[in-house]
Every structure is written in C-alpha cells, then in structure tokens.
C-alpha cells in the first residue's frame, strides 16, 4: 500500500526513516505599510520573521509535536508543510520530493494526496452549506481516486464508521453535530485520500476536556491501525505529553530544543522549555504558591538580538545578547543555548514537583 517513491529513504541521525525533512525552513511576511505611506511618510519596510531557519526531521509512523507560545510560528510551519504557504527559504522534503518550491498544481497533486491537515476550529473547518457526505468525499473526488458514485458512498460510510460516527450521518449538515463530532468529521475527511502524513494544528484546543480525550484516543488508534505520521501543534503541554514521541519547542520563529518526549519532560534543558514546564498548572500536582514568570513575549517584528530568549532568561550573559546560539546535538537531544554549551546549566530540580 505504501508508495515510498524511487529515491532511497532518508534516515535521521538515529537511523529511523524520515518522512519529512526541514532544512533551514524560513518564512518571512512582508508587513510593510502601503507603498504610498512608505514614500510619503518615509516609513520603512517591515519584515516579520514568522519562521526563521528550522531544521527538523519527522520520522515515519511517529508523532512529532511543536509547542510554544502564541505567535511563535507553529501554524506557519504547519501551513508550509501542507503547501498553503511557500517558504521564503530553505528546503522542505516530503517522501523524497522537494515540495517547498514546487508550485505546479499537477506536480503537487500526488504529494497533496498523501498529506492532510486537521484544523483547530471545528465550526469553521467544514463548509456549512454542504452535506457531510459531500464534504468527506471532496478529497476523493479532488484527487480522482474513485469515480463511481456508489463506491464513493461506500467509502464515505466506511470512513464515518471508522471515526466513530454512523454511516447515515452522511446526509446531515455540519451544524447538526457537536464540536467533538465535527472534529471527527474533519478527521474522516482528512483520511479520505489515505494520506501518510497528518498535520494537526491545535486539534483539541477548541474542545472540552471530556471530548478532547475522545479525539486524542481516536488519533492514537488511527495511528496504530494505519501507520500514520503526525505533526501535532499545540500549546498544551499535557496534550503534548500524551501524544508526542518527539517534541520541538519553538520560540519566536526558531527551534530552541528538540528531544524525545520522555527526555524532555524528565530533564528539560533549554531555559525556555524549563519555564514552560514550570508555569503550566497541573491538576494532579498543583502549585498553589506559583510565582509568575516575569517578562512578556517580545514582538516578532523586533526580536531581541543574539538569543531571542535573553530578555526573559535567568541565565543570560553578555554573550547571549549578541551571539545567536547554534543547535547542538548530543545524546539527550538537540538544544540551542550557550549555557548548555558552556556547561553552566543548573541541574533540573523542579520546584514542588514531587510525583503524587
């Protein structure tokens, strides 16, 4: 069933086959004022570096997660991956094909069939005027996978049942479903073209926790059954802990730490990762005397020089303010921090963190 392309499979440093490889992936948005006010009022061009050079290997059949605060560029990475945005620079290799610079619709078609996206807002991700059956059949028709109406309807029914809905739901309109059911519909549509790769951008952020658990379990079951590869984007660390095998932490358009999930939670190294893990309130181990972390996220229009995190980092030194730390790989993972490189990182002693 798998079509691995003709090129020899890419392997990551651990020797696992790589489905998607990002190298120096960059997306800049031109948010300059209109030409007229630039000329008349002497305003300058402004470039927003939403994603600024990301290296990442997404191993096949596993879940990679990106976390970070609002505006750090998570969704922009996701949208470049699914060819909604064209990268400004860098390479984006999917199953052996460079797709970042590929713009021809016909050349992209076979790639697009093998990747799909699940969105955050279950109310905006389904066309309100289409019946469910037509919505779910859309990828099948778009990619010309089947042309016999009866076969398409059978496939739709099968997909609906696969995500825990009923075959008869094909006749209903999206507004007749609850948020969680709509997210199931989104998943059914995403599965319709039998993709290898699913990009999930905040798949449960708009859902209630009891429904979130259902969706997360469903995504996990589907991965086991179909051997899917996921890129999950979220700001919820507890969700990441549950779904991810590998976690990338982003800050202002860059990756600051990339590590296996267990290692990251057992011993986070980047000071920003530590801050995140420390500030997330946890139901099981509440810290009722939590002291808020000082500082705010800087504007991505004017990121601080050197290490972008130095304005909030308790370990910042002169060097951090001028020199951008490189990603350094060792046995525990990859991290971009001068303190780690210089060996002056304090041990991880999570305050109040005594497991129940």
């Amino acid at each position: 069933m798998r079509d691995d392309g003709h090129t020899p499979p890419l392997l990551d440093e651990d020797g696992r086959p790589v489905l998607v490889r990002l190298r120096g992936l960059t997306k800049h948005f031109d948010v300059s004022p209109p030409l007229l006010s630039r000329v008349l009022e002497g305003k300058r061009r402004r470039i927003l570096k939403a994603v600024d050079g990301i290296d990442l290997d997404i191993p096949r059949g596993r879940t990679t997660a990106l976390v970070g605060e609002s505006g750090c560029g998570k969704s922009t990475v996701a949208r470049m991956l699914v060819t909604l945005y064209t990268p400004t620079d860098g390479d984006l290799i999917f199953e052996g094909t460079e797709i970042g610079r590929l713009r021809d619709r016909h050349a992209l078609a076979p790639v697009r069939r093998r990747m799909q996206m699940i969105f955050q807002d279950p109310f905006a991700s389904l066309n309100p005027r289409w019946r469910v059956g037509r919505i779910i059949a859309e990828p099948i028709r778009a990619h010309g996978l089947m042309d016999d109406g009866a076969a398409i309807r059978r496939r739709v029914a099968e997909l609906l049942e696969h995500v825990g809905l009923r075959a008869t739901d094909a006749d209903r309109f999206p507004h007749e479903f609850s948020g969680g059911q709509r997210q199931r519909l989104s998943i059914a549509r995403a599965l319709a073209s039998s993709p290898h790769f699913l990009v999930c951008d905040e798949p449960t952020s708009a859902l209630d926790v009891s429904v979130q658990a259902q969706i997360l379990n469903l995504l996990r079951d589907l991965q086991r059954e179909l051997g899917l590869t996921y890129l999950v984007i979220t700001h919820d660390l507890a969700v990441v802990r549950f779904v991810a095998d590998t976690i990338g932490v982003m800050y202002l358009g860059r990756l600051c730490e990339l590590a296996p999930a267990d290692a990251l939670f057992a011993a986070p190294r980047h000071p920003y990762t530590r801050l995140l893990i420390e500030t997330v309130p946890d139901l099981r181990v509440p810290d009722r005397d939590r002291r808020p972390m000082a500082g705010e996220v800087p504007s991505p229009l004017a990121p601080p020089p050197g290490c972008a995190f130095h304005t909030r980092c308790p370990l910042a030194t002169e060097r951090c303010m001028s020199e951008r730390p490189a990603m350094i790989r060792d046995a525990h993972g990859t991290v971009a921090c001068h303190a780690v490189e210089e060996g002056r990182l304090p041990d991880w002693t999570p305050a109040q963190r005594t497991a129940p």
Binding site: V239, R241, F242, L283, V285, P286, P292, E296
Partner: protein, 332 residues
C-alpha cells in the same frame, strides 16, 4: 463559619425561543465567602457564563432570571431595576471577561478610562481619581505605571491589558469579582500573572472571586472551592482538593480522569462516552444518565437533588441516604 458574601439559591435562567423555553441555568445553588475563590467549571454550554451574568445582572435579552434568589451581603439583588443594578455592579461586584479588548475602549487612554470609572462610582475630584487610578495600576502590577497612565490599550500586551481590565473592575473596591475565563486568551506564561493577582486580591482585601473557567489546572491552583456544572445544573460543589482527588459525582470522576497530565503517559486516556446533551434535548431524570456508567432506574425517572456529604455535596442518587455510595462510606 462567617456569613456568606454571596448566596445563590435555586437560580434558574431561561431563554424563551421559538423551540420553546430553554433553561440555561436550572436550580443552581452555592455560596461564596469573603476572601474566597470559587471556581466554576463545566463543559461549553453548561451554563457557567449565564450564571455569572445573572449575578451581575448582565443577562442578554431574551434571557431572564426565572426563579431563585441571589443574595449579596444579606440583600436580594435579583429583580432590582436596571438603575439599582448599575450601582451594585460598579460598587459591589466587578466583572472581568475573557477578551480584554472588548472591555477597553481603544480610543481613550487607560488613565482616562480608569478615572472616569472611578468618578462614576465614587465622589472624587479629577485629581484624586487620577491618583487612585495610578494606585490601581500599581496594585495590579503594571511596571512603570506612572508612565503608562497615558498610554492607549493597544500599546499594552495581552497580559497587561487583562490586568488593566482587572484594575477597572477594582475601581470602587468591590466585594466580589466575577471573572469569566480571564486567562483563556492568554499564554500559559502570562496566565500565572493573572491568577496570582486574583489570589493576592483575595488575601489582601478579602475580596471574593467567582472564577469561571474550563481549565482544571487553573482551578486546582487558584480556587478554594469548586462548583461543577453539567447541562445547566449543579453536579457537585466542594473544596478543590476533594472535588479533584475525591470526587463524589460520576461526572466529576470522569472529568478528572480524562484530563491529561505532564507527569505520565498512559497508553490511553480515560474517556466519558458521548457528549453533553443540548438544552433543547435534556433527558428526563439525571441529566448525566445517558453517559453515566452507574445509571440505574431511578436516575432515568427522577432528577436527583443535591445531597450533602461534607465537605462536598453532589446531585447524584448514589449519594442519597440509601444510595450505594453512601452505604459504602458509612460501612467503611
């Protein structure tokens, strides 16, 4: 035990619609004591915001209070006229909503909005009001407050805006603050700034807070007691530690079990099957019975009242005087 600051008894909020009358809040009762933070949790549509809106008198028409009593400092405040309510709203109850931008006027400086609000509630000169505005900004922890007084809302970051909204709510030293999802629109690293500010207000000024949120982590770290709503009804209310770790109601049990944590990675999350019924299709009896693993005949036929099992109370037949859980507990 001190007198409660706020007592809500059997509150019902209804919306007349073309498909009949919708009961968005159905017989909810709870107390809030001075200096206490009551967390209100529940799924989307459970009636959290409508409960809050009924207390502040900000129900959107055609919504109306159809029954019950709301007593603030011994005085009934349901059924007050709009004029009387406005006074109560500013002086005794402050409100903080999810999106700080909707509470702030983008055209006026923060200082002007604060002084105007102060002067509508308190008899103060322009000067004194401005001094108080500065004090309030310092109180909510805006760095360099003196220079920030003449800034516009858009010059503040999200977390700072929310702190300005809290400062606005504090203008007349209210006894109670109703905060509806005050941290939902904010980043995790900013969230703690707001919750610790609310906690400090309670500690230092004996202000009571009704904290509405669906984030159980925030509740666990911030609230003293929690009320769990389901389908417009109160499922359980009690001290936060008991509700989280020793829940009485099967819904609360399911809810706590399905929340993922950063501490371990189970192969699967526990899940409650199905979803909360819509208000137009409320089942008879216990609202939770279609999803409840312990549902029995009585649950289908009869709606359970709130049973008291100190320190918590739950609306579930398992906890009636002859309910199985009550018997287990007395035996143990």
């Amino acid at each position: 035990m001190t007198e409660p600051l706020l007592s809500v008894r059997d509150l019902r909020v209804q919306f007349p619609t073309r498909r009949g009358v919708l009961t968005a809040v159905d017989g909810v009762s709870f107390d809030i004591h001075p200096g206490e933070i009551l967390g209100v949790v529940g799924e989307s549509g459970a009636g959290k915001s409508q409960t809050g809106a009924a207390i502040i008198g900000l129900l959107e028409p055609p919504g109306r209070i159809a029954g019950g009593r709301i007593i603030l400092e011994g005085q009934r405040i349901d059924g007050l006229t709009q004029e009387q309510l406005r006074k109560v709203r500013g002086r005794k109850i402050g409100a903080v909503f999810q999106d700080p931008l909707t509470s702030l006027n983008p055209l006026y400086t923060v200082g002007r909005q604060l002084t105007e609000t102060i002067r509508t509630h308190l008899d103060m000169s322009e000067r004194a009001a401005r001094a108080r505005a500065l004090e309030l900004l310092q109180e909510v922890g805006i760095p360099g407050a003196a220079d920030r007084l003449d800034a516009y809302p858009h010059q503040f970051s999200g977390g700072m805006r929310q702190r300005v909204v809290i400062a606005l709510a504090l203008c007349a030293n209210p006894r109670l603050i109703i905060a509806d999802e005050p941290t939902t629109a904010l980043d995790v690293s900013i969230q703690a700034q707001i919750t610790s500010l609310l906690k400090r207000l309670c500690r230092e000024h004996d202000t009571a807070v009704m904290l509405i949120t669906h984030d159980m982590g925030v509740i666990a770290e911030t609230a003293d007691r929690v009320a769990v709503l389901y389908g417009g009804r109160l499922a359980e209310v009690g001290p936060v530690d008991d509700v989280v770790n020793r829940p009485l109601h099967p819904y609360t049990e399911g809810l706590m079990a399905c929340i993922p944590t950063t501490h371990d990675r189970p192969p699967r999350l526990a899940q409650i099957e199905g979803s909360m019924p819509s208000l137009t299709a409320m089942p008879d009896g216990c609202a939770f019975h279609p999803r409840c693993p312990h549902a029995h005949d009585r649950c289908v036929a009869e709606r359970p009242p709130l049973f008291d099992h100190a320190p918590s109370s739950a609306a579930c037949w398992l906890w009636s005087s002859e309910g199985t859980r009550t018997l287990e507990r007395t035996r143990a």
